[in-house]
C-alpha cells in the first residue's frame, strides 16, 4: 500500500504536477518540449510523499475544441454559418493548473474568444473573399489573436481552421437555390438556341454545296441542261414517273404542236 501511494507512473501522454498540501510544487514531470524523442521524455516513475502530495494530471497531447456554430455577416450583408475548430496543447501545466485547473475549462474559456475573433475577422470581408483562398491569412490572424489569450492559460494554439462555412437555412439558402436554378434555365435556353443555330448553318452549308455541285455540272452546256431538265420536269409533272400520280392530266394538243409535225404528214 505504501509503495503504491509513494510512486506513480507518468505515461507518455500526460504531464504530472505535484500539489503539496494544496500548493503546487514547482517543476512538472514529463513536461512538453517540442520535438523530443519518445523514451527520452520525463515519462516514468515519480515519487511523492503519501497523503501529503496529490498528483494533478495534465494532458500532453494535442487537444481540440469545436466552436459553436457562428452566424457571420459579411460586409456585403450576406450571412454565413461558420464552424471552426482549434487545436491546442498545454505547454505550461503549472500555469494552466493555477488559472483553469482542467483542460476542459481552458477549452471553455477559449471557445467564446475563438467565436468572437472569427466573427470580427470574417465580418470585415466580402462574401466572395470568405470563400477565396485568402482565407489562409485570415485564419492566421485569428490564430495569433487566440494564442494571446491561450498563453494566459499555459496553452498554445497549434491550429485554427474553418471546418464548415455554409449558407444558413431559410432565405439565404433558398435564394441561392433560386439563383442556381435561374442560371441553369438560362443555360438550357442558350443550349437549345445554339443547337438551332448550328443546325441552320449546317443545312445552309449543305444547300450551298449542292448548288455549287449542280452549277459545276450544268454549266457545261446550259442550253442542253434546259432541255434535259425540261424533259425530266414533264415526266414528273404529268405523273408518269411517279408511282402514284396525284391527279390526272388532260392534254389538248394543237396540230401545230412540234410533236405532231409528223402526224400531219408534212415535210
Amino acid at each position: 500500500m505504501l509503495l503504491f501511494s509513494t510512486v506513480a507512473i507518468v505515461p507518455e501522454t500526460k504531464q504530472a504536477l505535484i500539489v503539496r498540501l494544496g500548493r503546487p510544487v514547482p517543476g512538472v514531470y514529463n513536461a512538453y518540449k517540442p520535438n523530443e524523442d519518445y523514451g527520452r521524455t520525463g515519462a516514468g516513475l515519480i515519487f511523492r510523499i503519501p497523503f501529503v502530495d496529490t498528483i494533478e494530471w495534465v494532458d500532453k497531447r494535442v487537444l481540440d475544441f469545436d466552436m459553436d456554430r457562428q452566424s457571420v455577416l459579411s460586409t456585403d450583408q450576406l450571412r454565413l454559418e461558420v464552424d471552426a475548430y482549434a487545436r491546442y496543447r498545454i505547454v505550461d501545466p503549472l500555469r494552466m493548473f493555477t488559472t483553469a485547473r482542467t483542460e476542459r475549462r481552458v477549452s471553455e474559456a477559449l471557445r467564446p474568444i475563438l467565436g468572437s475573433s472569427l466573427r470580427n475577422e470574417l465580418g470585415r470581408r466580402t462574401f466572395a473573399a470568405l470563400l477565396s483562398p485568402e482565407r489562409g491569412q485570415l485564419m492566421d490572424n485569428i490564430q495569433v489573436r487566440l494564442n494571446r489569450v491561450a498563453r494566459q492559460y499555459g496553452a498554445e494554439i497549434v491550429d485554427v481552421r474553418i471546418k464548415r462555412a455554409d449558407l444558413p437555412d431559410g432565405t439565404p439558402l433558398t435564394s441561392a437555390f433560386e439563383r442556381m436554378r435561374g442560371a441553369r434555365q438560362q443555360e438550357a435556353l442558350t443550349l437549345r438556341a445554339q443547337g438551332m443555330r448550328e443546325a441552320q448553318v449546317t443545312r445552309a452549308d449543305a444547300d450551298a454545296d449542292a448548288a455549287r455541285v449542280y452549277a459545276d455540272a450544268f454549266n457545261k452546256d446550259p442550253a442542253f441542261y434546259d432541255f434535259y431538265r425540261a424533259m425530266q420536269s414533264y415526266r414528273t409533272t404529268f405523273g408518269t414517273d411517279d408511282a402514284n400520280p396525284r391527279g390526272s392530266s388532260n392534254v389538248i394538243l394543237s396540230p401545230d404542236n412540234e410533236y405532231l409535225k409528223q402526224f400531219k404528214g408534212q415535210n
Binding site: I9, P11, T13, Y38, G39, T41, A43, G44, L45, D59, K60, R61, V62, Y85, R87, L131, S132, P133, D159, R161, R164, A165, D166, L167, A176, F177, M180, R184, E187, A188, L191, R192, G195, M196, E198, A199, T202, R203, D205, A206, D209, A210, A211, V213, Y214, A217, F224, F227, Y228, M231, Y234, R235, G239, T240, N250, V251, L253, S254, P255, L260
Partner: protein, 356 residues
C-alpha cells in the same frame, strides 16, 4: 530478459496474488471439508482477488485441481506438513501463467506493438512472438498500422445532404471517403487526444477549402480527381503539422451533385443538351441527303451529256420523243384540228405510230 524478469516479478507477485491466503484456503478446503467454517470466513475474502491478479479466471481453478491431485499422490509420503510446498507450487504456477499472459505478445503482420515501461516509451515490437516484462511494468499497445481505415463524410443516401459552397457561390452536395492508415504508431498513440476525430475534422476543413476554389461545374465534372488529390495532399500537410503519425491514402468523392432542390433545373439543362444534339442530328441528316442528291443528279447529267455530245441532234430528238411518249401515253389527249371541232383519239396507237 529472463534474469531481470525473474527478479522483477517476485515481490509484486507475492503482493498481488495473496499467495499465503490462497495456499491456506486450498488447504482448508481439502482437509476440513466444505461446510461453513465460522472462524475462517474472514480468510475467504482474499482469494477472490486472485483472478484479478492472475488475469484469467481459469487459472486458479485449474491450479486448485492440480494441487489437489498433487496432494493425493504425494501427501502421504511427505513427512512434514503438506502446507508449505503446496503454496509454493501454487505461487510458481500462478507466476508462470501470469508471465505467459502478460509477458508474451503475438504481433500479427501489419501490426506493431508499442511498449511503455512504467509509462515511458521503450520501443516498438515488429510482427512475431515478442517478450516483454510482465504487466504492471510493461504495457504493450497493439496498433494495426497497415490496416487501411475509411472515414466517411456525408453520405450518398438521397435524404442526407452535405452541402458546401463552391467558389462561384453555388452549392454542391458532396459525399466522400478518406482512406488512411497509421504510419507512425508512437505518434498515433502519444500525440493526439482523438486521432480518429481529427481525421474527420481535417477532412471536412480540407475539402471545403478546395471546393471553395473551384466552380460548381468543375466540381461536378472534370476536376473531381484533381480535387481528390488536392484534398489528400492538404490533409496530409495538416496532419503532419499535428505530428499525428497518420498517412492519408486517398480521398474518394462518391457523390458530387447539385442539391436536390435545384436538381430539376440541372436536368432541364441536360434535356436542352439532348435537344440541341437532336437539332444538329436532323440538320446533319438533311445535309447528307442533299449532298448525295446533288452528287447523284450531277453525275447523271454528266453521263447523259457525254453521250449527247457524241450525237447532239439525234440524242436530243430521241429524248424528246421518249419523254413525250411517256407523258402522253398516260394522259387523255385532245387534238384540236380546227376551232370548234374536237376528235378523240385512241390512247395507245398514236405514240407508236409517231415514234417512227
Amino acid at each position: 530478459m529472463e534474469r531481470s524478469s525473474g527478479a522483477g516479478d517476485e515481490p509484486i507477485a507475492v503482493m498481488n496474488e495473496g499467495g499465503p491466503w490462497g495456499g491456506r484456503g486450498d488447504d482448508s478446503d481439502g482437509g476440513g471439508g466444505k461446510g461453513p467454517l465460522g472462524p475462517r470466513n474472514p480468510w475467504s475474502q482474499p482469494p477472490r482477488k486472485r483472478p484479478e491478479g492472475a488475469r484469467g479466471p481459469a487459472g486458479p481453478s485449474a491450479i486448485d485441481e492440480l494441487l489437489r491431485k498433487g496432494r493425493e499422490r504425494f501427501g502421504g509420503n511427505l513427512p512434514q506438513g503438506n502446507g508449505k510446498p503446496v503454496w509454493i507450487w501454487g505461487v510458481v504456477v500462478l507466476l508462470a501463467v501470469w508471465l505467459l499472459l502478460t509477458g508474451i505478445h503475438r504481433i500479427e503482420p501489419g501490426e506493431r506493438g508499442v511498449i511503455t515501461r512504467l509509462g515511458r516509451y521503450a520501443g516498438t515490437f515488429q510482427p512475431g512472438m515478442q517478450m516483454s516484462f510482465p504487466a504492471p511494468i510493461d504495457k504493450v499497445s497493439i496498433v494495426p498500422v497497415e490496416t487501411i481505415r475509411s472515414t466517411q463524410i456525408g453520405s450518398a443516401a438521397p435524404d442526407a445532404q452535405n452541402l458546401m459552397v463552391t467558389g462561384d457561390q453555388n452549392i454542391i452536395d458532396l459525399a466522400y471517403a478518406v482512406r488512411w492508415n497509421i504510419r507512425d504508431p508512437e505518434r498515433y498513440l502519444f500525440e493526439l487526444e482523438d486521432p480518429d476525430g481529427t481525421v474527420q475534422q481535417v477532412a471536412e476543413s480540407a475539402m471545403r477549402a478546395e471546393i471553395a476554389k473551384v466552380t460548381l461545374n468543375d466540381a461536378i465534372g472534370p476536376q473531381r480527381s484533381q480535387i481528390e488529390a488536392m484534398v489528400a495532399q492538404r490533409m496530409q500537410e495538416i496532419l503532419d503539422s499535428y505530428r499525428s503519425g497518420i498517412a492519408v491514402r486517398g480521398v474518394a468523392i462518391n457523390q458530387a451533385d447539385p442539391p436536390a432542390a435545384v436538381m430539376d433545373a440541372f436536368k432541364e439543362v441536360s434535356a436542352a443538351q439532348q435537344d440541341a444534339q437532336s437539332y444538329m442530328n436532323g440538320a446533319r441528316a438533311y445535309a447528307q441527303q442533299l449532298r448525295e442528291k446533288a452528287a447523284g443528279e450531277s453525275a447523271a447529267f454528266d453521263r447523259v451529256y457525254a453521250q449527247y455530245r457524241l450525237a447532239p441532234e439525234v440524242t436530243r430528238r430521241r429524248m424528246y420523243y421518249e419523254t413525250m411518249e411517256r407523258v402522253l401515253a398516260k394522259t387523255d389527249k385532245t387534238i384540236v384540228e380546227a376551232p370548234g371541232v374536237q376528235s378523240y383519239l385512241p390512247l395507245t396507237q398514236l405514240p407508236k405510230g409517231a415514234a417512227k
